[in-house]
């Protein structure tokens, strides 16, 4: 639904625009010459393993950290110089919860609304709809310290919506949640996208990126190694079925199936075989003792493995 945006479109429609951004801590280059553009109404993902620089990028977009070089524009405001004006129209879900644990759910929303200059009456009038959105209607008077991890995350999401933002910056919104809680958040995020919000989402979870993002940028050590629509990236870099082979001697198997594979990758104990005609490979492996085989469609994990030679940590 949000695929209308193309990076080459008129720049003034962009929600976020990074050009040649660099950031180091000491001698360590954490973000290197990064450029990307996020269109309005788009869900843009920053996908990379821990330490890739995702949070650092999110902080720079919010103006909470200054880049060493390069230019950042968010909602048409130069950042960090006028970041405050941009933040009036941004909602933030930080990587680590920073809710007021001693306050109730309702008090958290009240206090946060006041940071945006909203009066108590105005805030109280929108709290019910926020609680409903976060599925926390029955928890309004509960202290945050008594909420489950998933509920805290949803409260953080509700809190980020209090100023009716155009743009949401979400740093690993579902990390550490169980599958049920994660699916509930995904469903809420899709609803927000349907309402026309723009989302910048960081994740190390490829399934999340694949499900939610219109476009994404794959990062490794602060360097952009690929950018595009999830399915286009998978098609471009893999474009065929994958067979995961566990057990056996990888070297021996390598030689056996090499002629039928477009590409082979060894990672840990697993041999990844990318084959245009998986039957050819399976026929040669069937009946060999001690092997476990799994055939599946390719995903972003494969793209990352293909580009970096290593798996993304789960």
């Amino acid at each position: 639904m949000n695929n209308f945006f193309q990076p080459s479109m008129n720049m003034s429609t962009a929600a976020i625009d990074l050009a040649g951004v660099k950031k180091s801590f000491g001698d360590k280059l954490v973000v290197n010459e990064l450029s990307f553009t996020v269109g309005r109404g788009e869900c843009f993902g920053l996908l990379g393993p821990n330490g890739a620089g995702k949070s650092t990028i999110a902080r720079m977009v919010l103006g909470m950290m200054s880049p060493d070089a390069g230019e950042i524009k968010v909602l048409d405001e130069p950042v960090p110089a006028r970041a405050r004006l941009a933040r009036m129209r941004i909602g933030v879900v930080p990587q680590f919860d920073n809710l007021e644990v001693e306050f109730t759910v309702r008090e958290n929303l009240l206090v946060f609304g006041r940071y945006f200059g909203m009066g108590a009456r105005k805030i109280e009038s929108i709290v019910p709809s926020l609680l409903e959105f976060a599925r926390l209607e029955s928890k309004a008077g509960t202290r945050v310290s008594e909420l489950s991890g998933g509920m805290k995350r949803r409260l953080t999401l509700a809190r980020a919506l209090i100023n009716d933002p155009h743009l949401l910056v979400m740093d690993e919104p579902t990390t550490g949640l169980d599958p049920h809680a994660r699916h509930l958040i995904w469903e809420r995020l899709r609803l927000l996208l349907a309402r026309g919000k723009t989302i910048l989402l960081t994740t190390h979870f490829m399934e999340e990126a694949e499900r939610l993002c219109d476009r994404l940028c794959v990062l490794e050590d602060g360097i952009k190694i690929a950018e595009g629509k999830p399915h286009a990236l998978i098609e471009e870099h893999i474009g065929c079925h994958v067979i995961e082979i566990y057990g056996g001697n990888p070297q021996e198997l390598y030689a056996l199936i090499r002629p039928y594979a477009r590409h082979l990758e060894v990672s840990g104990e697993t041999l990844f075989c990318y084959a245009p005609d998986p039957e050819q490979v399976l026929v040669r492996l069937r009946g060999r003792a001690g092997l476990r085989l799994m055939q599946r469609p390719p995903n972003l994990e494969d793209v990352f493995l293909r580009l970096t030679g290593r798996e993304m940590e789960k």
Binding site: M65, R84, V92, F96, L99, E100, F112
Partner: protein, 283 residues
Amino acid sequence: MGEGYAAAMPANAHNWVAVWLRNFLAWKKVALASILGNLADPMTNLFGLGFGLGIIVGSVDGTSYISFLAAGMVATSAMTAATFETMYAAFARMATMRTWEAILSTQLTLGDIILGELAWAASKAVLAGVAIGVVAAILGYAPWPSILYAIPTIALTGLAFASLAMVVISLAPSYDYFVFYQTLVVTPMVFLCGVVFPLSQMPSSFQHLAGGVAVGSFGRAPSSNNAGPPDARCRHTYRCALHLRGVAVLSVRGTVSSTSDAVRQHATENGDANDAILRDDGV
């Protein structure tokens, strides 16, 4: 760098109120314990020293020793309340509780937060000072109206010490360093400023030193028993206010600059490593 600091300065004249209200809401939940805590220490000093030493000392500056000490305790408790609120509570909000980090993701700037924290610490100083004043008035050691006269000075004392403590927490690498400020600056202040004995008993070089520390005179201002005629008191308050305006303005500026680095560091450092600990503690 320069432009970064400009963006961190207070954005307008009212943003800080939201921070003050946040702290007020948190305080309301523990108000009783907090007030009792504020009273306990100065009251112990007041009765311990007042009755104990009072017998030996007799009268000071024309009033009973315990009245003299009561005025000093008002100033001391204001100083301590503001210092501790900033050094421990505000530091926790900056470094471990991530409260500042949450606020910085809204349209508030670091300057707004600091202003709100300073105003809050000054409010707690007023509360602590007035609480002692009320107890002293009930017991007949101070006239009731003196509490009213003292409020502006108490508030300014609170602002000044909150500002100083704010600079300390932004520069000190960890909690352990706060103790230097406490033992080398805050504690000597009690003796340098005529809280437990009149300044005139000090060697003259110390008297000059004490004169330079504006706070020195605060100890006496609340005690209307010996503070001279009302207009003298007003002049006194005015002079303190001038001193303090300087301190406060400088420290808001200075603190924003130094804290912005500290905050960034804490915000990011706490990231991965400390998070597990923080979550488990439920801080």
